[in-house]
């Protein structure tokens, strides 16, 4: 117990306690929703409120998961998909940032490219799938290309916009020291845009998953996307739902990793 004469710390402790209490309640309801959802699903499937063939049930998905872990096939699928997604996402972000740098470096090029960027951005990139598969061959390279293409244009546009919005006075400071255009880019424009680049990274996590899963639908060889399309073809919706759940978990993990990177990179602003 704290001495009663010391008023302030005890008030502060109360405040902290109320914060902790609030946090516990939020976690509690989140857990309720999580558990409740799966219990309801299980019950609905068992008592035939929903079609168990179509919606399966958590217990069936669980036993399928165990089986897939035992025979080891699951990890190779997950590995392939993760590899493609991470690569597609990194390539998309890097290429987009490089393109944005080019646009910044050559203002006339950016004026010329403007309408084409709008068209490319508006076009549904997954429609390029068949062409990519023929161009790169029905293997992981075309899937990575898919994951890249889907995020590269939007990255270019967002990053270029942030390049242009960098406070001109930072560049003025550098110019008064006689900095070259490259030095201005390296010292002011690029670091000032890190927050924007990271936030496109967050968007690109989601986009790359879309690209890679669609790519795997089309190539149909391996990966989680293949598991979905295969499950659909043999009418095994337990397999489809299992893949979906795994994708949800992995995408969330990737997003959290990016959020962690963001935190450590831009802690000083």
């Amino acid at each position: 117990m704290k001495p009663l004469t010391n008023h302030k710390p005890s008030l502060h402790d109360q405040y902290l306690a109320s914060l902790r209490k609030e946090k516990r309640w939020v976690r509690f309801y989140q857990l309720i929703i999580f558990v409740g959802f799966f219990m309801l699903w299980e019950a609905a499937s068992r008592y035939q409120w929903i079609d168990p063939l179509l919606f399966s049930s958590p217990s069936k998905i669980w036993s399928l998961l165990m089986g897939k872990i035992e025979d080891g096939s699951l990890f190779s699928h997950i590995g392939v998909t993760l590899f493609e997604t991470v690569l597609g996402f990194i390539l998309g972000t890097l290429l987009g940032t490089c393109l944005a740098a080019l646009l910044w470096w050559f203002p006339r090029f950016s004026k010329i490219a403007d309408p084409y960027l709008v068209i490319l951005n508006a076009m549904p990139k997954v429609a390029l799938g068949p062409i990519l598969i023929v161009a790169f061959g029905p293997n992981f390279s075309s899937i990575i290309a898919m994951g890249t293409v889907i995020s590269v244009i939007i990255t270019t546009i967002v990053v270029y916009t942030s390049f242009r919005e960098v406070d001109a006075n930072y560049i003025k400071v550098l110019k008064t020291f006689g900095a070259s255009r490259f030095q201005c880019f390296k010292e002011a424009v690029l670091p000032a845009s890190f927050p924007a680049i990271i936030s496109t990274l967050k968007v690109n996590v989601g986009l790359s998953w879309v690209g890679v899963i669609v790519g795997e639908f089309l190539v149909s060889k391996q990966g989680l996307g293949y598991m979905i399309i295969y499950g659909f073809q043999v009418f095994n919706f337990t397999l489809v739902l299992l893949s979906l759940l795994i994708i949800a978990v992995l995408a969330t993990l990737m997003y959290q990793i990016v959020a962690l990177i963001e935190k450590s990179l831009i802690k000083n602003r």
């Binding site: 006075n169 930072y170 003025k172 550098l174 020291f177 030095q183 890190f194 831009i266 000083n268």
Partner: protein, 257 residues
Amino acid sequence: MSFLVVHDISHTYFTEKTATTALEHISLSIDQGEFVSFIGPSGCGKTTLLSIIASLIQPTEGTVTLEGKKMQAIHPAVGYMLQQDYLFPWKTIEENLFLGLKIMEIDTPEMRASALSLLERMDLKGTEKHYPNQLSGGMRQRAALARTLATDPKILLLDEPFSALDYQTKLRLEELVWQTLKEYRKTALLVTHDIGEAIAMSDRIFLFAAKPGRLVRTFLVPSELRQLPPFAARQHPSFSELFQFLWKELDSLETTY
């Protein structure tokens, strides 16, 4: 021969609809070690003139010479300080301090040591590893001053560097800048809209009028004020006299146009 000579500078800004004459036939000269101020109503082109002297803008007409040499590109002898500190938030104070050295490729141990001693002179010892957002407004502006002085410029261009600060910080910083510049024997050119600041700090005051921007008059600050540091100068009887006089001049300029 004068240290810095501005010879018949005119400058016009073009937009799609208009051509605005920002400056018209400006000529002036500044001696080495002198502290001069540009005052005038907004739109009189004083910041434009500063940018031209810094070679950030090329004037439409006229030349600027420093120690008899024509200035064409950005010159290492010119230091420029902006209205706000513009310390790079992702760099530590130390990295900010060495930025000019790095870009000018004079990043030697000696220059670093003298930059660090400047930081100490600014009473910022111990903040080397801090980030700008950990410092107060006054401290940041002092760090920015140290960054500008670190490259050892011969002439310092100050573009309203105190205007974003609260009054007390501003008075303290005026004092510090004045002392430092006298100590290091720098020539300085201050743009301000604060009459009191101009009188307290400078040796000479150039009064500008707007539309088009032009030089109207030059005032010599009386020697008793010139000797005194800014805060003491503000207390001196001849300060308010000159203040009144300049106030009327400025007022008449603004009402006529």
